[in-house]
Amino acid sequence: MGTLDAELETLYRRRHGVFHAMLTSVTGDVDSARDVVQEAFAKALRKQGDFRRDGSLEGWVWRIAFRVALDLRGTRELTVDELPEVSFIEPTRDPGLHAAMQALPPQRRLIVFLRYFADLGYEEIAEVLGIAPGTVAATLSQAHAQLGSHLRPEEVTP
């Protein structure tokens, strides 16, 4: 790809919907989420000198997006203790998954969302949240176990 600008544009066009949906659950409304997504990418354009290229571009932009969203909520730092509350599962589309996800602790729920909804890898999630990849793996393992106890038996793997 020619420039980071182009890379960011491609990412925006390809993943805008996921960013928007995810951040809607963080900000609480679609308009704020739209604003956050645009500001996050604009900030990424402005701060592209900060992108070290030793991690994924998408992970870096997600981290910026969460920071922007948290700024909107009046919180300056992104820490594991202040992870945004996410709840993007429409109860009517999958009541079982919605209930199981709601039962997860917020940190665990966010990591599950980043993994399966935002489709980020362990390294990317670790980069976004500023935690170790091992912590991501451990948290997902715990989440799988907890989800197993909530979801229908026929869907539970032995």
Binding site: M1, G2, T3, L4, D5, A6, E7, E9, T10, Y12, R13, H16, G17, V18, H20, A21, D35, V37, Q38, E39, F41, A42, K43, L45, R46, K47, G49, D50, R53, D54, S56, L57, D71, L72, G74, F88, I89, E90, R93, D94, L97, V112, Y116, F117, S141, H144, A145, Q146, L147, G148, S149, L151, P153, E155, V156, T157, P158
Partner: protein, 435 residues
Amino acid sequence: MSSYSDDNLVARFAAMAPEPMHGDWLDVQRRFQARKKRRLVAYGLAAALALLLVGCTAAFGTRVVDFFEAESSPPHVIDFLSVVQTANSYADPSFPGFDPKQTRRVIDEPFAGGTIQLDLTPLRGEGFCLTVRRSSTTTDGDSTDCATPERTKKEVLVLQETDGRTGTGGGVLGKHEGGVVSFIGWVTAPGVQRLELRYEDGRTAAVPFFRVTAPIDADFFLFDVPDANARYPHRVVELAAFDGNGTRLAKNRIVYEDPDEWTFPRYGDHGFPPAANAKAVRVLRFPGVSATIKVAPAKGGVTCFIFHLNASGSDACPRDPPTRQMFRLDENSFFPGPGSGQDHPVLLWGLVESRVRRIELVYQDGARDVTRPQEQFALYEVPVDHYLPGTRLLGATLRAADGRVVRRVSFDPTMRDLYPCENPREIGFGPPVCP
């Protein structure tokens, strides 16, 4: 306890995937361009501050400007603010708006053969917009920024860059040892009695400020950082506002990331990072292209490059496959890319595989062209007569020395706002756009 499988979760979340939705990249670029525009004007302030401080330091800190006693702003400022209001409303329908005719000039000072002016206008409801205009023999520009009620809830102390190095939030763009050299801003918290700057070395300094009365009701400051505090480890790291009891009302931190050996310098002479051998720089030139690519060998067999056209471009030291992939010639390898205005060529550039010796280009109208990479870099300028729809670039075939196809790349000839056009549309915000 049973565990829920990865595959099951992937399937169920996939069913939750959001509907494809329209996300306009131009909106992002407008935000980016708007901020750049603000930065341009702020740049002018940097030098202006020195004289301001010489002339007005004694007055700052205790000076109170009665907003209604201040002179009305001149017509050109009011006209500018009318455009600003249109642009703000375009970008944000919830913007409260203002009456440009209520704008007052609170600072008008000579500086370096030019002038600097600061105008304020109250927003409907509460809050204000600040307009800064500076002119001199070397630079002209104006900018505006608004303290809306929504923003004031989040930002009590607003610190703006005046040298283009920092973002509004105080973060430094790029990585370098140099720090903030000057800034401007305001505090909306009531009862400010002292503004204090803290440096990396722990020293502090008072920042003069002046108050503008209701309906503005805020304290404003302009500050030129001493030369001794321009670089690590003496840089500005925090500005804080205190009340009469010494209680901190607000603060704004400036975060620096110190450079490493692979970081390109961002300001001044744009050279290579320390890891590269700057004495061995070579310039790659391509037929029919005014832009060039500078390359320099670096540690570990890496080749660092700088690709620049005028003031923008790209640079990197591709040290690993992901980075090389990022700069690989593909369908988005256009420079400067969509939404870049009108006065620029359309360049195609990027890294190609080491065995590629020839790149064949084909256009919508059947026209063909050939370019050859140098040291794995491709750089090609799309001729002006291929800007119009129906004539645009359609694809590239990358071939090895024996003629075998290494890779094919398809380009989207309908990519919006990539090619300059004869009748761009002004939308009052950011650069004109093309269909």
